[in-house]
């Protein structure tokens, strides 16, 4: 049974009975999850390693399509539209993704990294438009002042935290509806982590954010709503504040009080 205490009006994402298995004989890594994700809010997905949180996240922009053995069942709707009806190219422009380890393209400059989405898709823009997108995206991630004089240097020269903000800027360049972040601060030091967290809180005014984290204090600090997953099941989903103060499920309580995970 799922304790879903969350009613969401006009959700940006609706997940309906989603199951994912890594091959057709394997146990479900994500098991019949249904949830609605609030617009312009940060939704955290937490749970111990192997609970299926990243697998759930990667289903949202259909990253699983890259691996033919993976079996996905159920549906996800983006603004009411079934994502399986949208081409992955278009879908991934509407849903940006940031990964666990900062992964700017090592062969590209900072500038090219930001507009990599356009370049990779073969979209030609006028230079003014390009400059504008780069500047706006870098300002959005509070990196502009730090890199505006070295835009044409390789992105890999930046510090880890700067690289991760660059990767967020890269995801923002298409002005997506949703940004998916898969443990974006797990490779960063505390100072860089808090910068990224502040940034996410700021970004939710413009974007809807889904954040996978195994750091529950991070979920408590910045998320509006939280999902707790365990062994592929969505155990509990609710407002972060109430989940952290009065968890409904015993497993959630045990996880949040550090009994496991």
């Amino acid at each position: 049974m799922i304790l879903n205490n969350l009613e969401v009006e006009n959700p940006v994402l609706s997940i309906k009975d989603l199951s994912v298995a890594y091959d057709k004989n394997a146990k479900n890594a994500v098991n019949a999850v249904s949830a609605e994700v609030k617009r312009n809010a940060i939704t955290a997905i937490m749970g111990p390693s192997g609970c299926g949180k990243s697998t759930l996240l990667r289903a949202i922009n259909r990253m699983h399509d890259l691996y033919p053995a993976i079996v996905t069942e159920g549906n996800i709707f983006l603004n009411g539209e079934n994502i399986n009806k949208i081409s992955t190219i278009e879908l991934r422009r509407k849903i940006g993704m940031v990964f666990q380890r900062p992964n700017p393209f090592p062969t590209m400059s900072i500038y090219d990294n930001v507009i990599a989405g356009y370049k990779l898709n073969g979209i030609r823009l006028k230079k003014e438009k390009r400059d504008h997108i780069v500047e706006e995206s870098l300002k959005d991630v509070v990196l502009w002042d730090e890199v505006k004089d070295s835009l044409y240097k390789k992105g890999t020269f930046l510090s880890g935290g700067q690289q991760q903000r660059l990767c967020i800027a890269r995801a923002l360049a298409f002005q997506p509806d949703v940004i998916l972040l898969d443990e974006p601060t797990s490779a960063l030091d505390p100072v860089a982590t808090s910068k990224v967290e502040d940034l996410l809180v700021k970004l939710k005014k413009k974007y809807s954010i889904v954040l996978v984290t195994h750091n529950m204090t991070q979920a408590a600090r910045i998320s509006d709503n939280s999902m707790f997953m365990y062994l592929g099941d969505l155990v509990e989903y609710g407002k972060t504040k109430s989940m952290f103060t009065t968890p409904q499920d015993q497993r959630t309580e045990e996880y949040l009080t550090g009994k496991f995970g």
Binding site: M97, Q100, L120, R170
Partner: protein, 283 residues
Amino acid sequence: MNSEKITKGVLLVASFLILIITCGMILSLVSGSIPVFNEFGFKFIISTAWNPTEDKENYGALPFIAGTVITSLLALIICLPMAFSTSLFIGEYFRGKWYSKALGTMVDLLAGIPSIVYGLWGFYVLRPFIVDLGLSSQGYGIFTSGLILAIMIIPYATSISTEIITMVPNDLKEAAYSLGATRFEVIKSVVVPSARSGIFASYILAFGRALGETMAVTMLIGNTNIIPTGLFDTGNTMASVIANQFGEAEGLKLSALIAIGLLLFLITGLINAIGKFIIKKFA
């Protein structure tokens, strides 16, 4: 006696022996080529003469250097598109599929075939084929040798390139996919640029192998001591002239052959060092 000391001693002796053998070889190559350099000086390298007649002896290495470089470059040009496509096929496009693994094994098998077998095949199959096509009257020459060399170096370039391509981190590729890139765009804009220097180095190493290949080339190049001017001209490479003439060489001629050997050693050594340096920098 403790085993620690014995192990250390054995390792030391074995390593030292290798060092002595290498130094000895270089030393004998250098000392063997001294007579010809004394006689002709560095003109030996740029001279096209090859006259073993007594009292009129005159030797130059240029035709062989030219033959070596031309056949190897031709082989490299033919090998490039083949090795590049095959390494993308095995390392990226169909990575992990059974037919990719089978193809990889075939490529490795190709690398294991002895040079003489390639030569034999080239002599009895490829050469008559070239004649049938009307490209050359006897089928010997630069083109035939270059073609056989290309087949011989494709496995080297392919297997190193494949390894480099599979080393491109998955999270870079996923980052590109997450931006809506297609497979082709990911390969074009992420995989190949990231693997660029390693792929380049694999061709340099393959080129180094082509320079030194002896047997198959000796059987197919036509063994004439002139600078080839066309694709279907005959010629000689540094390795093939040594293989062809060492049996009847003595005195100054032997010294000339040894000097050619020394030059070949220096050139391939340099090419290999460059290739390995680039790979090391990449990794």
